[in-house]
Symmetry: C2
Subunit: 157 residues, 2 copies
């Protein structure tokens, strides 16, 4: 994502019905800058601290929580239990590497079409579905090694 001007930041935040304070703009800016890294509150704080030494960690926590409620950002599911955040992009799919614990964006329009199609036919009882995501788990391999999906075992599917 490109650099946002102060005005744009203001607009983004105000558009969600939130007061556009300077801390919120800074936090939003940081999470945009860290897009793809799925940072924790602490990481957001560390990122914006040099340029904004007066902001407090507690405010970052509160702000991210507020943003998540307002759907300005979304929480990323983790197996480790920490809360991570990301800008609310069009894809909700992630790959989780069990070796490096990275969460990598996986953006595949085809997959999304397939799923969207599936759920437009398959209604879930007593449930109003708001969004869905695919979570892939696996391990990074060396670029020169053979890439395979054959390792997907039946009992995992």
């Amino acid at each position: 994502m490109q650099q946002l001007t102060r005005q744009e930041l203001h607009k983004h935040i105000a558009a969600s019905g939130l007061k556009a304070t300077s801390q919120r703009m800074v936090v939003y800016e940081a999470i945009v800058a860290l897009h793809g890294h799925h940072p924790t509150a602490e990481e957001v704080y560390q990122h914006l601290k040099p340029a904004n030494p007066s902001i407090s960690l507690g405010t970052v926590y509160k702000t991210l929580d507020t943003f998540a409620e307002a759907e300005l950002v979304r929480r990323v599911l983790t197996e480790e239990g920490g809360k991570r955040y990301d800008t609310n992009t069009t894809t909700h799919s992630h790959i989780y590497c069990s070796n490096t614990r990275e969460i990598i964006d996986f953006d595949d329009p085809e997959l999304e079409i397939v799923l969207r199609d599936f759920f437009s036919k398959r209604q879930v009882e007593n449930f109003e579905i708001k969004s869905f995501a695919v979570q892939l788990t696996g391990k990074k391999v060396e670029p020169d090694k053979q890439i395979s999906i054959s390792g997907v075992s039946n009992q995992n599917l």
Copy 2:
């Protein structure tokens, strides 16, 4: 899942290369009993405590972690940041209710076929996929209300 005998518990645990201690059997028994509830360590502890007052919470934490490493149980992704566990069943899909914070199993063979199919064609670069899961997010509705998927907005897909 049915009741497991002490011998069966022993076998399950030993089969993963772990020492089959009585604490481990009790923890495994509890998580089987709580299958579908996706309990936290604390909940597992509360469940087994009445019958096993001498077991310590720390041991439950350690044991669940050990089990997860050995893939005897799996960690369930949560948005809230707490670690939850479940027996390693054949489905990996969940529905998360943002109202009640419940995690509900969603077992749909058709969906699994669709995804399995998709990923058998679509290889992911430099990544060996081990498993995948679909995470649905939404809200429970009253049984008499209209159920709809139309609320799925484009920007979430």
